[in-house]
């Protein structure tokens, strides 16, 4: 199609260009011809008028001279005597006066009788004589004795001086130059020049260039061709014209120059004026005009051609662009079709895989249901069947969820539900979900948290869970039994600013790995490496596509994969998450000494740093033996550890054995020992408890994990300590006698009732005055304490206290506790200032009162 269009365009361009050239050439040639014709016409017109002018001029010159001659002739009368001396002298004088060089009588016999000048001969006497005889005036050419040409003017004279001589005319001679000078026949070469010939072609007056005597001879000698005729033809034509006495005009090229020739008869003579007009100047002008015309033509032709070329070029460009677009569209369509076919094929493959994958659990469900039905009474069997049905259902649900997610992604409907989440909770839940699978395959699973300071971020926890779970479950799936799986979380500064934090999630295994070829397709939909190794591993082939979509497209992060067949796979997910706007709990623990024991140095350092940041003085060591040593040393210095964190899996002596040794060395179980484990500790719990393990702490060890776990244990410790203190100091106060100063009976009764229940014996004083009196009247030591209301009639609590403190009694310092509805700080202060021991506010809090009594009663 492209070539066709191009060919058409090029052909049409060439065609149009040729047409242009032809038209313009035609115009040029036509104009040139036209101009040549015009020049010819102009030349003819010009020549005829010029020739006429010369002819007239010639006639006037000749007639002037003829008149002069006639005047001479008139002097000759019929009476005059032939050879009269006087007449002859008169004639000669007249001739001289009139500038005639020659003067002669011409006899009818054709003989000259010279009166003045040399002897003359007429070149062609016949026509001359004939005319003279007829009485006509005539001009002729003749020669003198020196052979010089002379113009002869013949004037017939009726009065012949010598009848015997039969004188026909008086002839005057003039030099040829006279005429030629007067006629100005010699012109410069640019313009016309003329000469005069006789009928036989001999020159009467010739130009300088014409060295021959006869024009015809000259023509014959010089020119082979005159205007398409031979020289003879030309001469014939000229001669014929002369014979008919008409003007002759023609045009010919002579010596490379174009000439226009005009021939006309001159009066008084047998002469012919031939005028040449060289076209040189006119040709120059016309040629210049022609050239200008031609160049204009060429120029306009070029302009038109250029314009055409431009149009063509533009059109060509447009066409090509259209072609390109069409081509691109075609390619895109092809690619789209290919993609569609590929997707279609993938979907078909997926469906066939799926049908297998779905059928397997469905078969299990159907089969197990049948077995359960058949053994409905065998509870154990039914339980077993139900368990398997549950597992299969879950697997089926997983498949369906993946497919739904994928269709959500493909229809662009998956959106994130951003919420405040705790990374610790997310990782915790992931770890607990993965643990059963890891345990089933006896894999080593380790989670490592590296200095995560921002645990609370904004993210879609469901999707983040999904990503981690996908990566981990793949790692578990493609790592053989006994392999290692490592998950790590790092925190970095985010390039997005202070409000963000960059979280790196690394999932690494030493499983079967992937081929390079497959790694490049791992994020494609329905991708599953098709090899015998993974043939049995179930899955939809959608997990990684979903993962990539969530991480990259939805969360704006990145995911990298590094894998080698047989060596393992490592996924790195990088996410920039916004920090959650929460006031983080002020996590501070008492300044305890703690020991962290783990064979992973990084974990020790990271955990110790986290502990330091929550106020705990942490030390760490890498193995059980050194741990026991350190514990014993500290114990001997009476500066034992408050809590010990022990990893379960240690080189050599494991965590449980270490705990046992520590318990043996210390000889008590006062120090809590916590076992660090990423695993469900159900299996080891029994042996661990036996060995003296106090509790468990689960990996990953976020700061908050540590804080929450330790606070719980620390709380227990504090409580224990307090309880111990209480049981030590708490005494039985029953039987103690208390004097209660209270003006209001109702209040008194309430207090009395409540405190009696505690075994106290109470006496009532209705105001401060009575209180003082009662105390004073009692034997010393009778009352163990006084509870004193402040606002009482007669004497208030403050005064009463002041009085009691100044009594001359050994027991004047007995405890006095203010008990009042006033609970302001200044009231408390005033009570103490007055000498009271403590202050309790109403309503009466029995426990508080008992605590204070317990404190102050000696």
């Amino acid at each position: 199609m492209k070539n066709k269009t191009t060919r058409f365009l090029i052909t049409s361009l060439i065609g149009v260009a040729l047409l242009c050239v032809c038209v313009f050439s035609f115009f040029a040639i036509h104009m040139s011809n036209q101009s040549a014709r015009t020049i010819n016409q102009v030349g003819t017109l010009y020549m005829s008028s010029m020739s006429q002018q010369i002819s007239v001029h010639f006639e006037s010159i000749i007639s002037l001279q003829m008149d002069q001659l006639r005047m001479l002739t008139d002097t000759i009368t019929s009476d005059a005597v032939h050879r009269d001396q006087a007449l002859q002298e008169e004639l000669v004088a007249g001739a001289k006066a009139r500038d005639f060089n020659y003067l002669a009588f011409y006899s009818s016999g054709g003989e000259f009788e010279m009166l003045h000048g040399d002897q003359l001969t007429v070149t062609d006497p016949e026509p001359f004589l004939a005319s003279l005889r007829k009485g006509e005036q005539k001009v002729a050419i003749g020669t003198n004795t020196r052979g010089e040409k002379v113009i002869l003017l013949g004037m017939p004279s009726p009065h012949a001086p010598t009848p015997e001589h039969n004188c026909a005319a008086l002839v005057a001679g003039l030099p040829v130059s006279y005429i030629s000078d007067n006629l100005s026949l010699e012109e410069n070469s640019e313009r016309a020049y003329s000469f005069i010939i006789r009928r036989d072609g001999s020159f009467v007056i010739r130009t300088n260039e014409a060295y021959r005597n006869n024009y015809f001879e000259r023509v014959r000698a010089l020119y082979e061709d005159v205007s398409g005729m031979t020289a003879d033809q030309y001469i014939e034509a000229l001669d014929a014209a002369m014979a008919e006495n008409r003007d002759y005009t023609t045009e010919f090229v002579m010596g490379g120059e174009r000439f226009h020739l005009y021939c006309t008869h001159l009066p008084y003579s047998e002469w012919y004026l031939i005028t040449f007009l060289p076209y040189g100047s006119m040709d120059t002008i016309v040629n210049g005009f022609s050239r200008e015309w031609g160049s204009m033509t060429v120029f306009s032709g070029v302009i038109i051609l250029t314009a055409l070329m431009l149009v063509f070029y533009k059109y060509y460009g447009l066409t090509r662009q259209q072609l390109r677009e069409v081509e691109e569209a075609r390619r895109a369509a092809e690619a789209a079709q290919k993609d569609a076919e590929h997707a279609n094929r993938a979907k078909s493959e997926f469906l066939s895989n799926m049908s297998h994958d779905i059928r397997t659990p469905m078969n299990a469900i159907v089969g197990m249901t049948a077995i359960a039905t058949a053994n409905i009474d065998d509870q154990q069997q039914v339980k077993n069947c139900l368990k398997k049905i549950t597992l299969s259902s879950k697997h089926l649900l997983g498949l369906i969820n993946d497919v739904l997610d994928m269709s959500k992604i493909e229809s662009g409907k998956m959106t994130l539900n951003m919420d405040q989440i705790s990374l610790r909770e997310v990782v915790d839940s992931i770890v607990s979900i993965c643990q059963p699978q890891v345990k089933a395959k006896h894999q080593q699973f380790d989670v490592f948290i590296h200095d995560i300071s921002t645990e609370n971020v904004l993210c879609d926890s469901v999707r983040l869970n999904q990503v981690m779970l996908n990566l981990l479950s793949n790692a578990i799936k493609f790592t053989p039994e006994g392999g290692e799986i490592h998950m790590a979380l790092y925190e970095e500064e985010s390039p997005k600013g202070e409000d963000f934090v960059r979280i790196q999630i690394q999932v690494k295994d030493n499983g079967i790995g992937m081929s390079k070829d497959f790694v490049s397709h791992i994020f494609d939909s329905f991708a599953r490496e098709d090899s015998a190794r993974v043939h049995r591993t179930e899955g939809t082939g959608l997990g990684m596509a979903i993962t990539k979509f969530i991480v990259v497209d939805a969360m704006g992060g990145s995911i990298d994969v590094d894998s080698a067949q047989g060596k393992g796979t490592e996924f790195n997910v990088t996410l920039d998450l916004e920090k959650a706007d929460v006031v983080e709990e002020d996590m501070i623990l008492p300044n305890w000494n703690m020991l962290v024991v783990d064979d992973d140095r990084q974990l020790c350092e990271s955990t110790a740093a986290a502990l330091q940041s929550i106020g705990v003085n942490a030390e760490w060591t890498l193995d059980g033996e050194s741990a026991v040593e350190m514990v014993v040393k500290r114990h001997q210095r009476q500066d034992g550890y408050h809590i010990i964190l022990l990893d379960w899996k240690l080189p050599g002596m494991d965590g449980i054995a270490t705990a046992r040794r520590i318990r043996e060395a210390l000889g008590d179980d006062a120090v809590p020992i916590l076992l660090i484990s990423a695993y469900d500790w159900g299996e080891i719990e029994h042996s661990a408890r036996e060995a003296g393990i106090t509790g468990f702490i689960s990996k990953p060890l976020f700061k908050s994990t540590l804080f929450n776990s330790l606070r719980q244990f620390a709380g227990d410790l504090e409580e224990k300590r307090e309880e111990a203190a209480q049981t030590e100091q708490r005494r039985d106060l029953s039987g103690k006698r208390i004097l209660l100063a209270e003006d209001n009976e109702l209040n008194w009764e309430i207090a009395s009732e409540l405190l009696s229940e505690e075994g106290l014996v109470l006496d009532w004083a209705e105001n401060g005055q009575i209180c003082v009196e009662m105390l004073n009247e009692s034997p010393p030591g009778y009352y163990d304490a006084i509870l004193m209301d402040i606002r009482m009639p007669v004497m208030g609590g403050y005064e009463a206290t002041q009085v009691i403190r100044t009594l001359e009694r050994p027991d004047r310092d007995l405890p006095i506790i203010a008990m009042t509805a006033d609970a302001f700080a200044e009231d408390v202060k005033r009570s103490l200032d007055c000498g009271m021991n403590a202050h309790v506010a109403k309503p009466i809090d029995v426990r508080e009162v008992m605590r204070l009594l317990d404190k102050f009663i000696k």
Binding site: D743, N744, E745, L746, N747, E749, I750, E753, L754, D789, R791, M792, P793, T820, A821, D822, K842, P843, I844, D845, V846
Partner: protein, 121 residues
């Protein structure tokens, strides 16, 4: 009428008082509140212009109410106590406080009397 309903009627905090006293004692002391002369003393003192005594009486009412969990009367009597504290001169609005204490006291007394009546029946 139960004791709880009685507390609801007089604007008291039954749960609070039960936290400190056994129900038996609460009932006993609530009934005894009817015989308490503090309110009469308050009224008399105010009528006599004995502001110091009036303060003490208001203070006593406040103490009793705190012990018995009579929240409404406790609140109004506490405000009056502060208004009368240290023999302060009468302030605008004091009348209003006295009126409110009276209202709350009447309401309390009526509720307890109703309860007493219910017990008797």
């Amino acid at each position: 009428m139960t004791l709880k309903e009685c507390y609801a009627a007089l604007g008291g905090d039954y749960d609070d008082v039960l936290g400190r006293l056994p129900e038996r004692l609460v009932q006993k002391f609530v009934l005894k509140f009817l015989n308490d002369g503090s309110y009469d003393l308050l009224c008399r003192s105010l009528a006599d212009g004995d502001r110091a005594e009036a303060f003490r009486a208001a203070h006593t009412i406040k103490g009793v109410c705190a012990n018995l969990g009579f929240s409404a009367l406790l609140e109004s009597s506490e405000q009056l106590t502060e208004a009368l504290r240290d023999g302060a001169p009468p302030q605008p609005g004091e009348e209003e406080l006295i009126r409110r204490v009276g209202e709350d006291y009447q309401r309390t007394v009526q509720a307890i009397q109703a309860f007493q009546g219910a017990l008797g029946a």
